[in-house]
Symmetry: C2
Subunit: 206 residues, 2 copies
């Protein structure tokens, strides 16, 4: 197919696809005799995947490239690690009083749950979030953190069971990467709907 | 205090604070005799709150302004609605085949859970996410959606119980807004840590 059809099939504008090609996220199509590029189903899938990571997952083009390079590699853990670091948004670890208190808080939580923290980017993002709650004097927001942690465990376990049922290693890897990014967006949306629903039940007067 | 101290106390650079003042997110300090502005604890709190929404929650300055304006209003639901719309990232509703299938899927899920969907921005974000899973042929990622929905309900209910314990109406509103934004970041970070932890247990060979 020509690039116009690739654009139509994926919902991504032609100039944007050309930009992805220039940036090395999508490979060049095959050259036809008339010196025009032609694209296949492989390209449709790749452009849709990029769209998912960039538009929905909020990853930068540079981070998306890093994740896609990981997809060609054989290790699930290293690719997931890369994906999670890309999602982490490069948060710097705070080293002031509230940053240290937040790190301690997360350490104790991990101990209670029996977690080993492999994902340093996620840990940094949590520490920064908790530190800001302390900054604002809103540490009561953390009262429910064990409910959050339990919910996180159940979702993670369901995801992994789903991935474990897949047979092709490629499918495992792709599902794990896309599931990590899109699953987060899905869970956040559901939490907000559940909030709004429960809030009207509990605070009808507000 | 002078603006330099306000900057030091909040970790936000002086030019950035001046920008927030120009944009109407923070009010002008009081003028002293020497025609310099002086700031109080109220400003410290406001700048930290903005930092939380922008840096951690990923809201734009324009969306942050809308949320802050809502904080001065008396209705919890309207402010939370505004916050959630600002978080929704202005997702356009897809109207193609996969968009319609995704909307149907969410409708059935809401029916199973007994949810009324008040938060249209969250619904749009979920529909877009599910539609992309269909695009990619990865609809098996939705197998665990009821586990996600149950986790979302538990977290939402714990949040609301925490908010209900607060006494001052101002505190309720601020906690609800900050909790909505930061709670999502916290839950996503915990989910990623739980993923990485469980993944090494289930797939040691990868």
């Amino acid at each position: 197919m020509r690039i116009a059809e690739l654009s139509q099939r994926t919902g991504v504008p032609v100039p944007r696809i050309k930009y992805y090609i220039r940036e090395g996220l999508v490979d060049h199509g095959e050259r036809t005799q008339s010196n025009q590029a032609t694209y296949g189903e492989r390209h449709v899938r790749r452009v849709r995947l990029i769209r998912a990571l960039v538009t929905i997952g909020g990853l930068s083009v540079a981070d998306t490239r890093t994740v896609l390079v990981g997809l060609d590699k054989p290790s699930l853990h290293s690719t997931l690690g890369t994906t999670m670091e890309a999602m982490g948004g490069h948060v710097s670890i705070r080293d002031d009083e509230h940053g240290q208190a937040a790190r301690e808080f997360l350490g104790k939580l991990a101990e209670r749950r029996g977690w080993h923290i492999h994902d340093q980017a996620a840990a940094a993002s949590i520490v920064e979030t908790i530190a800001i709650m302390y900054d604002l004097g809103l540490e009561h927001l953390l009262d429910a953190v064990d409910v959050y942690a339990e919910a996180a465990e159940k979702v993670a376990s369901a995801d992994l069971k789903m991935v474990a049922r897949l047979e092709a290693p490629d499918a495992v890897l792709e599902s794990a990467v896309v599931g990590t990014v899109l699953g987060g967006v899905l869970l956040d949306g559901l939490r907000r709907i559940a909030h709004a629903d429960a809030s009207r039940g509990m605070f009808p007067q507000l």
